[in-house]
Symmetry: C2
Subunit: 125 residues, 2 copies
């Protein structure tokens, strides 16, 4: 579990730092079979996912991770489920938005790629 | 995708209805290798998970699902990642709590069991 938590923390730090700096650079994390569900909209393949992420209507964005949980997703392969909750600050909006994001990371040649990615903003009660 | 969404919806409806009525009845959904991370605490095996869930310090509980997203977690087996956000009303508290929950469902003899389960309350900004 220790190693899985370390991998998950490194991934999450890299993912949001890259997202907030220049989200087109996230392309290397996805593959042709990768899926993103963004606010309920399913999108498949690295190219379509990056097209979606770069077309989001904000320029400045900052993620703040509040909770991060990781589990091995399979007894036979070292794949990892990563569940994140946090706050998203967009452009000059004064109020951050609460978000939830789930990743499924698959090992590939010493690194990991994102097979599954589900993102939701939480509007609450 | 249509079938996966249907399976996910049926699972989620069954899960929360059972949780809210008598959460000890969730035992059949977990296996020895199943993992729950409850508010950051990792718990393994069906027996330990049910012990945790039944020892939670509330008697009345009601889940209201707000968003439900499902994706196939693997190109080779029909396993499913289910990401839920919603509201949790506990005992006589007037304010519901926002929660996020991620399940990883593995097919087994015509049904599915929960391999992974991550639960978090979102306290927001």
């Amino acid at each position: 579990m220790a190693e899985i938590n370390t991998i998950a923390q490194q991934f999450v730090q890299f993912y949001y730092t890259t997202f907030d700096a220049d989200r087109s650079n996230l392309a290397s994390l996805y593959r042709t079979g990768s899926m993103l569900t963004w606010e309920g909209t399913p999108i498949q393949s690295a190219a379509s996912i990056i097209e979606k992420l770069t077309s989001l209507p904000f320029s400045k964005v900052q993620h703040k991770v509040e909770t991060l949980d990781a589990q091995p997703s399979s007894p036979t392969t070292p794949s990892i489920i990563v569940a994140v909750t946090g706050l998203l600050q967009v452009d000059d909006s004064p109020n951050p938005l609460q978000f939830s994001q789930t990743f499924h990371l698959i090992p590939d040649g010493g690194s990991y790629y994102v097979q599954n990615d589900v993102f939701r903003l939480n509007y609450g009660a």
